[in-house]
């Protein structure tokens, strides 16, 4: 059975949640709450922490990893049916992440290249990662965080040094609580990706420390995204910020160092590609692992090939342009996240709350060892 360290789990969870949010969340939240976007993101720490408590409780009180725990809590038939839907949610999540990323690349970096080339290249790399196993993805994830996270913060720091107008953050008091709540929700729902812990925790070398790992992911996510949102507001002001499709992208593009280093958005995208790769790989792994567990298969890696076709086709057919993909991301994904990553775990949490503690060795709950 594979074993991954808690730091690797931290990296994987951060890579699952952050790359897409780094680009999308500041934009979405700024559209809703203007200059208070960073405050909304900061406040998302509260529902984020509650969600983490839910996951931790589930982990402590279930003897088998996800999706087997669905059968334990909801019965064999309902558990299997819901598990089946989870497969689609993970595959759809992977396809949306891939399509959104590819649409951005296609529109900004190498515009004349067909999207299918990007999708094919990205799927090929992720497929290779998946074939080599989860432990390998975890190692690569570690590398990406060690180098990528400091660069992400560095970009924010440099952006802040361009033409900052701190007055853009004012006024605080003009908060419309309805929009603010919506803003919090949009900042928070991506944290539903942390549900991956219900699978990853079973491979941990130190399960007692999983709660602190989850909270570290939450803190890093909140700090990074709220800082990005704040800096984009400081940089462009809330009015102009509302007109920009990707404030983070624009923020990087405006960086100018010594009148020589300019337009480094391409570099940012190049680094961001790595983050997106990890997000795609982890979500894809979740899909394959769920299939394996649901159908009691020996291994999950052989599922990478057939599922790659599904992901490729879904992501190609998802939308004709980036606007359509954005509509999916803004309107459909929050619903999917709410149902599958927040609502259903909540139901399981309540079921486990009233169910006697199995008291079994939770580390041995995996049906088939994963290599």
């Amino acid at each position: 059975m594979i074993r991954i360290t808690n730091f690797q789990i931290y990296c994987l969870l951060l890579l699952t949640t952050t790359p897409l949010a780094y680009l999308v969340t500041p934009m979405m939240v700024t559209h809703i709450v203007d200059n208070n976007s960073w405050l909304a993101i900061l406040t998302a720490i509260i529902p984020g922490a509650l969600l983490i408590y839910v996951y931790i409780y589930i982990l402590k009180n279930s003897i088998r990893p996800f999706p087997a725990l669905l059968e334990d809590c909801l019965g064999s038939i309902i558990g299997k049916i819901i598990g089946f839907f989870y497969i689609f949610s993970f595959l759809f999540g992977t396809a949306v992440t891939l399509r959104y990323f590819v649409a951005l690349i296609g529109s900004s970096t190498v515009p004349d290249t067909p999207l299918s080339i990007f999708i094919g290249a990205m799927l090929l790399v992720s497929y290779y990662a998946l074939k080599t196993g989860m432990a390998n993805i975890a190692r690569v994830g570690e590398l990406l965080i060690i180098f990528g996270l400091p660069i992400a913060f560095f970009i924010i720091l440099i952006s802040l040094a361009q033409k900052p107008d701190f007055n853009s953050l004012l006024p605080f008091k003009s908060i419309d609580f309805e929009s603010f709540t919506t803003g919090i929700f949009y900042s928070f729902y991506i944290l539903g990706d942390l549900m991956a812990i219900l699978i990853l925790a079973y491979f941990s070398t130190n399960r007692e420390k999983i709660p602190s790992t989850l909270f570290h992911v939450l803190y890093t996510y909140i700090i990074l995204i709220s800082l990005t949102a704040a800096v984009s507001v400081i940089q462009f002001g809330s009015n102009y910020n509302n007109l920009i499709t990707f404030p983070t992208f624009k923020m990087v593009r405006t960086i100018l160092i010594s009148d020589f280093i300019q337009n480094i958005d391409v570099v940012f995208i190049a680094i961001w590609i790595i983050g997106m790769f990890a997000a795609i790989s982890v979500k894809w792994f979740l899909a394959c692992y769920t299939i394996q567990q649901l159908f009691g298969l020996r291994d999950y890696r052989f599922l990478a090939a057939p599922s790659s076709v599904a992901i490729g086709i879904i992501s190609l057919m998802m939308g004709r342009n980036i606007i359509e993909v954005q509509i999916i991301l803004h309107n459909i994904m929050p619903i999917i996240y709410s149902i599958f990553y927040i609502f259903i775990p909540l139901i399981i949490f309540f079921i486990l709350l009233f169910k006697p503690n199995p008291g079994a060795d939770i580390a041995t709950g995996i049906k088939n060892p994963v290599s």
Binding site: T5, F7, Q8, I105, T109, V110, T113, I117, F118, A121, M122, V125, Y128, A129, T132, G133, N136, I137, R139, V140, E142, L143, I146, D259, F260, Q262, N263, I264, V266, V267, I269, A270, I271, I273, I274, F277
Partner: protein
């Protein structure tokens, strides 16, 4: 004719495999006949028959291969003792034993430090092929092996591929025993073990597995022995043969073992719990396990003071990235992402490229291939003219290509700079990896710009992360991340705080300094 083909002559000798499997006979004539058959057409085989003992009644036979033995030693300590000195003794003083003459000669007559026994013709042949001399005595079915190995070999010299300014300059030679002696001289402990193996069905090559007992993990030693034991090949001529057998993953361009010609470097690795494998006839020692970041570390780092060493090491890491990525980045920037280049610089590059008929990608590829050709030619050309030819070739070809408008000057500068950067990597096998990988990056950047570079980078990272060297993750201590050990990878940790050995699974004594639980 059909019948003739399958028929064996009545008195024809048995085939060689049957003879060699036989034990040594107590009839010396039979042994002599068998050995003559076995060593037929071996003009360097020397058979010396003689008689000794009371009334010269005992027949003896000495066999060796000319050129592999110290003839002086054979004559002085073997033949002279048996043929002359033993017979010149006065009968009163000299008591011929009544029973075991063989044991008496072994213990009392042969004045050689290394005397062993042999009972089969196969072992006898192996011994004489290794440079030993065998003595057979009539009436005894056992032979005596006298350690008389001595052959012409290269003396200890400075290794050409690992030049250092500060630090030991000795290098291994082609003689295994000299090489192990160079290690033994540095590791004056009984815990330093050298286990011998004979590999190669025909070559019978001596292979040595070196490690420090009490530091090297037992599982590692057992695994190396197991893998060595599984090798069944006709010949081992260099450590390169073994490397491919011993690696965890065969289908990769990444070398999973380090190699060196420097005994001090091997000792440094042995002190860190690794093992070394050496082969007779090769001046290269293999070191296992290893990880990729270690390829950027030079032995000199540990001889120079830690601050300059650390700076040099950081520079080496940077040059590693330059050697790997610079041409592809340049191609990506001027082909796809020219908005990133400041206008004055871009204009300079554009004006230099004006009239060049090839796209930047093809231009870079052309120059890179030319550079590799020149480098390869420089290695193969005779030493006296090689460097001159390669330098002149590079200058003339580069200059002519620019003047002909086939390539631009910025591209020549980029490729030349990349070439220089690739030589900074101290490990030759890492240099090979860079050279191969650079082409992959170049092609990817030509087709997809920075996106292509990142995709190839990811593919390489995934591949490297999937590799192991005797169970040690290939990217450790980067992945799995080990912050403590990273301080001796990115920079060179000062000796006064370098209290622990690098973390390795199963390492038996992790403490380097101020430890009470050392073995000695």
């Amino acid at each position: 004719m059909r019948y003739m083909r399958g028929r064996r002559k009545k008195d024809s000798p048995p085939p060689t495999p049957e003879i060699i499997a036989q034990p040594i006979s107590d009839d010396i004539q039979e042994n002599l006949d068998n050995l003559h058959l076995l060593l037929e057409r071996c003009s360097d085989a020397v058979f010396k028959e003689f008689a000794f003992g009371p009334d010269l009644k005992i027949r003896g036979l000495v066999i060796y291969f000319d050129g592999l033995v110290d003839r002086q030693e054979v004559e002085d300590h073997l033949l002279k003792s048996l043929m002359l000195e033993i017979n010149m003794q006065d009968d009163n003083k000299y008591h011929w034993p009544k029973h075991d003459i063989f044991q008496w000669i072994k213990d009392s007559i042969l004045s050689l430090s290394e005397v062993k026994t042999v009972t089969t013709l196969q072992d006898l042949c192996h011994s004489i092929s290794s440079g030993d001399t065998v003595l057979l005595i009539d009436g005894y079915d056992t032979g005596l092996i006298a350690g008389t190995r001595s052959w012409q070999g290269r003396s200890v010299q400075t290794p050409e591929s690992e030049v250092v300014v500060r630090g030991p300059k000795e290098g291994f030679t082609e003689t295994l025993r000299f090489n192990t002696a160079l290690l033994r001289r540095r590791l004056k402990t009984a815990n330093f073990k050298i286990e011998s193996f004979v590999l190669g069905r025909i070559t019978k090559t001596d292979v040595a597995l070196c490690y420090i007992e009490g530091i090297a993990p037992e599982e590692l030693i057992a695994e190396v022995k197991k893998r060595l034991g599984n090798i069944d090949i006709d010949g081992i001529l260099d450590t390169g043969y073994l490397e491919e057998f011993l690696e965890d993953n065969h289908w990769t361009i990444f070398s999973q073992m380090e190699y060196t010609e420097k005994p001090d470097r091997v000792c440094g690795h042995l002190l860190e719990g690794q093992v070394s494998i050496m082969v007779d006839g090769s001046p290269i020692a293999l070191i296992a396990p290893t990880s990729f970041p270690r390829f950027v570390i030079a032995s000199e780092d540990y001889y120079e003071r830690y601050i300059p060493s650390s700076l040099f090491r950081i520079m080496r890491f940077c040059s590693f990235l330059v050697a790997l990525l610079l041409p592809s980045l340049f191609v990506a920037l001027i082909t796809y992402h020219h908005e990133m280049i400041p206008s004055p610089l871009y204009l300079t590059i554009a004006s230099a490229r004006e009239g060049v008929p090839f796209p930047a990608f093809f231009e870079a590829l052309l120059l890179e291939i030319t550079f590799e050709l020149l480098r390869e030619a420089g290695l193969r050309l005779p030493r006296s003219i090689g460097p001159a030819i390669s330098i002149v070739g590079a200058l003339i070809i580069g200059d002519a290509a620019v003047k002909a408008g086939l390539v631009s000057t910025p591209m020549v500068v980029i490729v030349a700079f990349t070439g220089i950067a690739s030589f900074i990597t101290p490990s030759y096998n890492a240099g090979i990896i860079i050279r191969i990988a650079r082409f992959a990056f170049l092609i990817a950047s030509g087709f997809l710009g920075l996106f292509g570079i990142m995709i190839v980078l990811l593919a390489f990272l995934i591949h490297m992360a999937s590799l192991t060297s005797f169970g040690l993750p290939y990217l450790s201590p980067l992945a799995p991340f080990n912050p403590g050990q990273m301080t001796d990878i990115i920079v060179r940790r000062p000796w006064f705080i370098n209290t622990m050995r690098p973390t390795m699974k199963g390492i038996r004594n992790a403490v380097r300094q101020k430890s009470s639980d050392t073995n000695e």
